[in-house]
Structures are given as C-alpha cells and as structure tokens.
C-alpha cells in the first residue's frame, strides 16, 4: 500500500521545517537520527530545510570511508536528498571556517550562510528539529 496513506494531505497546510544538524557523524547517533527524520518527513511534503552548524558541518564533508569502522557512510544518503526534493541545505559560514572547510569540501550543493543569517533562518521556521 502507499506509504502513510491518507496522512500525506494534512489539509494542504505546508509548514516550514528545519532540521538542524550540530553534531559530528559516527561518534554519536544524533546525526543518523536526524537524517532518518529527514527521509521520513519527505513523505509529508512539507517545506523542508536542512542546516549544518558546529560539528554538524562534518557530516557532509567529502571522502568519508567508513569500511574500517563498519558503519554506513552518510554521504550517499545525503546525495539522495535531491531525489526527495530536499534541496534547501545551509551551512553556517563560521562553523565551516573554524574547521578549515570550504564550500567545495561538501558532497552536496549548500548555501553558505553567516551566523546572523542562520539565526534569522531558525527564527523563521514553524518547526525546528535536530541534534
């Protein structure tokens, strides 16, 4: 049967969702859980935004090779988000620069946003979920 049948059309009210990633991948389960929430939320056809701040920016850095730690890499799944129509991805400039990263280091196209703009983005949302 279709997934979450009948729940997809919640009266046509589209809310602005922000998934706020602030943790590094692999060391804790936060990053994985947020990613799963993002995939699940795609079925509800909301206005989804994904932001990376603090160590969260490490989640989408190119070149993860997780074979040695026997965990699934995050990167292929982040590349799949485009197919889920999730294309509003933001990286906080200060967090990126503190860690010696540049926009080209990320596996997916992102909008680099300074901290002030990030605070406006957060404030403009209907729902903020993350870890």
């Amino acid at each position: 049967m279709p997934e979450i049948e009948g729940v997809e059309n919640t009266g046509g009210v589209i809310k602005k969702f922000l998934y706020l990633n602030s943790k590094a991948p692999y060391g804790t389960v936060y990053a994985l859980e947020v990613l799963e929430m993002i995939l699940i939320s795609a079925a509800f056809e909301q206005d989804v935004h994904v932001a990376f701040v603090d160590d969260g920016v490490y989640q989408i850095k190119r070149g993860h090779d997780t074979k040695g730690i026997e965990m699934k890499s995050f990167l292929p799944t982040y590349r799949a988000l485009e197919g889920y129509d999730i294309e509003k991805l933001y990286v906080e400039k200060e967090s990126m620069e503190e860690r010696g990263l540049r926009a080209e280091d990320f596996i997916v196209p992102v909008t680099v946003t300074n901290r002030l703009a990030m605070s406006h983005l957060i404030a403009s949302m209907d729902v903020v979920l993350g870890g």
């Binding site: 943790k23 701040v53 605070s119 957060i122 209907d126």
Partner: protein, 100 residues
Amino acid sequence: MLHTVNKSPFERNAFKGCLARAQKDSVILLFEDAVYAAIKGTTIESVTVRATQDFKVCVLGPDLKARGYDEGHVVEGVTVVDYGDFVDMVVAYGPVVAWL
C-alpha cells in the same frame, strides 16, 4: 521562539551554540544538566550574565534542586521556573528549538 538547553556547559557547547544563534529577546530555558550554566561562581557565570541582557533566561527548579542547588545559587537575572511554567512557555513562545 523558545530555545531549550539540556546539556552541561562544561561538557558540550550546546549553551554557547544556542546563545550564538538565538535572536535577541528570545526565551532560553536551561534544564537537566544545563542548569549548571545558571549557577554563580563558575567559569561560565560571565557568559550567563551577559546572556541575561539579551535574552529571557530561565532555569527549571526541580532540576536545580535535584542537583543540590536552589534559587540562592542562581545567577542574577535568571528566573527559576517549575514544570507548569515550562508548559506555559512552550505554549506562549513556541516553536521550540532544542539544543542538544
């Protein structure tokens, strides 16, 4: 917007992360291990004092008491609230942003 923090400022940067990205006049609630951020006499105290100038900072009383502190130990300008207030704040100031 209501920002909540529940991790100790000595262990994680959730409190600082919240302060860096909350808009002026937002409400910040410290609970669970984040209540240590509200206590006088620590190396975090000056950060919390500054926060009270830009934000309405609250701390959850039951979590304070559980850790051996009460209102007398709390940085000036920080409001001690109970569970009922917490619920009222979610209603009044939501949506909630949880800094973990």
